[in-house]
Amino acid sequence: MTPVAEKPEAAGVVEMTYREALRLAMREEMERDERVFIMGEEVGLFEGSYKVTAGLMDEFGEDRVRDTPISEEGFVGAGVGAAMLGERPIVEIMTLNFLLVAMDQVINHAAKIGAMFGGEVRCPMVIRTPNGAGNQLTAQHSQSFDGWFAGTPGLKVVAPASPADARSLLKAAIRDDDPVLFIENLPIYKEKGEVDLSDDSAGEIGRAAIVREGSDLTIVSHSFATVRALKAAKTLEQEHGASVEVVDLRSLRPLDTQTIAESVARTNRALCIEEGWPSYGVTAEIAARIQKACFDDLDAPVERVGMAEVPLPYSKPLELAAMPGEARLVDAALATLEGSR
């Protein structure tokens, strides 16, 4: 069982995993505000299928860390109703794939409340769920529908890439008065990074970050794709002498196109990457905005890379061939660097 990160008392900067950072944010917000509670399958007794909520039921009790039956539509909706009454539910969906059975509650209920009722009632809830692939989980369990939610007015969609952002943006999502889909990722849970325990503040939703500076190419990504981007950027520098800037979106709705545009205006080339299928995906929107915002700056077409457009196969070699692995990212980057004038 994953150890629980030290309590904020032990102030200062410590290294922790993305998973621990999420757990810390939830514990801090639950201590801060008794309206905050967690609901989901196996979040309590089982300590979370991916151990994100490990230890929290012992600490906060069964009412505030509530195990649910397998009924995503039912308990996502229960989160919506509780939020309308002023509670602050954090609903965990085991993986994003299972949100498909609760789409109606997310898209046609949570997202509609503010506008449809004329601003007379709000829905301050958070839905936490990991997307992603890479462990041979196969076609039904390896998907990323990030863009679907990011394209839904009334929702906010946050997807951080580092433990520090995971903590501060989950805190921001919990404190936000609107429904926020907080997208995590399976392989990212074990990623490590520094977190400043002395800073209890919430992050800003709608602000991208330049996580690596460069002058030849801008890679735009979010969540685990940013982890991939940073590795690829290193390789591109070391083996190809290319100076690559990486913009981590952090939130998909609102989307900080301004930071992207400013970066591309400097590098004149852009590569957008994502874990999911690129066609009609997140990178489609990013590319569409870049070509409009930076039309005169671009020296080459905006390129996109994502998961090969097939239901992900179980076979390891096939899965590897489908993923946006480093080799494909580097090739795509080189193609973009060489493209056009």
Binding site: G77, G81, E87, Q105, P254
Partner: protein
């Protein structure tokens, strides 16, 4: 359900003596108001003052008024889209409901929701929802919220006979029972879901029996009998509030008009069937007889009818006079205050016209 025999001189139905005459009278006034309101809404729809889908509840007044009569003001009501009558019963003014149907700024949802999405937090009426059975999980969550907040009220969640075949029904009832939530699922059985009769949709046409799958109490009452509805609702709400046990209440009634104003309502039933239902057991006729048996005169009833017509006519005037929402407020309410700042960096490269959207949530009220 066999039509309930209308009361005869030889055996005057005076209703439950527990209900004081003045209270019974005021409930009847609300039932009449609801009927008159719906009739006027249909007229205004045909006059193109009202658009979208418009679902009327004429014939179902004993259920809407009776259920709400058994609720405390602090109890929460949630319904589907056939909600005008429930809203009026829960205390929303005819003005604010009619203005909403007209899509005007003074409507309860500032003209954003329309007929299907009437709501008013002040009256503890949490809508007014359009997706069949979609309101059940939400209502279940409202009941969970009441428990978390240590409030001893309960939730009534209305749904139709057709909605009981949706998965959301199953998941919501299981959660409500497992978690001991204070909620009564009110199944308004008006025989049809659009054109599909209960027998053609539900493998168990005795819908209330399905409560047993969740170890939950289930009851069926004559939904056109005001007293029966009040009694059953009151009893089940008491259990919900005090013992924290949910229940299903099925009220047997009938929809006089089409599914919505757009539906003539005769492809799946006969004129004769509708006429027979109107003649036998109409909730207003029946309640009027009880009041007459307790001494109300024709003059009293005329006064009640006139008052309802006056209120509804005034509501139409109010609605017509209320301003149309300003186009600049197109995005108002979508996000909470403070969100505009979060979205300000989204403008570059956005689709044509999007830059113009403003996200402040104030509706200038």
């Amino acid at each position: 359900m066999p039509p309930t025999a209308a009361p005869t001189e030889s055996d005057p139905d005076v209703g439950n003596p527990q209900v004081p005459l003045d209270h019974r009278r005021s409930l009847y006034e609300t039932m009449v108001l609801s009927r008159v309101f719906e009739t006027e809404a249909e007229r205004q729809y045909k006059a193109a003052k009202i658009g979208g889908y418009c679902h009327l509840s004429s014939g179902q007044e004993a259920t809407s008024v009776g259920v709400v009569a058994a609720m405390e003001p602090e109890d929460i009501l949630v319904t589907g889209y056939r909600c005008h009558g429930f809203a009026l019963a829960k205390g929303l003014s005819a003005d604010s409901v009619m203005a909403e149907l007209f899509g005007r700024e003074d409507g309860c949802a500032h003209g954003r929701g329309g007929s299907m999405h009437i709501m008013d937090v002040g009256s503890n009426f949490y809508g007014g929802w359009g997706i069949v059975a979609g309101q059940l999980p939400v209502a279940t969550g409202l009941a969970l919220g009441l428990v978390r907040q240590g409030r001893d009220q309960a939730v009534v969640c209305e749904l139709g006979d057709g909605a009981v075949n949706m998965g959301a029904w199953h998941e919501s009832l299981n959660l409500a029972s497992l978690w001991n939530l204070p909620i009564v699922f009110l199944v308004v059985n008006n025989v049809y879901g659009m054109g599909t009769s209960v027998e053609r949709a539900s493998a168990e046409p005795d819908i209330y029996k399905r409560a047993a799958s969740y170890r939950m109490a289930g009851e069926r009452v004559d939904g056109n009998n005001l007293d029966a509805v009040i009694e059953a609702t009151g009893r089940l709400l008491k259990i919900a509030r005090e013992d924290r046990r949910p229940a299903v209440l099925e009220t047997m009634t009938y929809r006089y008009r089409g599914h919505s104003v757009a539906d003539a309502g005769l492809a799946y039933r006969t004129k004769e069937e509708v006429a027979a239902r109107r003649e036998n057991g109409d909730p207003l006729t029946r309640e009027r007889a009880r009041l007459a048996a307790q001494g109300l005169t024709d003059e009293d009833f005329d006064r009640i009818d006139d008052e309802a017509k006056r209120v509804v006519a005034a509501a139409v005037e109010f609605a017509d006079a209320s301003p149309e929402p300003a186009v600049e407020t197109l995005a108002a309410g979508m996000y909470a205050p403070g969100s505009a700042e979060q979205f300000e960096r989204m403008r570059p490269g956005s689709p044509f016209g999007e830059e113009a959207l403003t996200f402040d949530s104030g509706l200038g009220r």
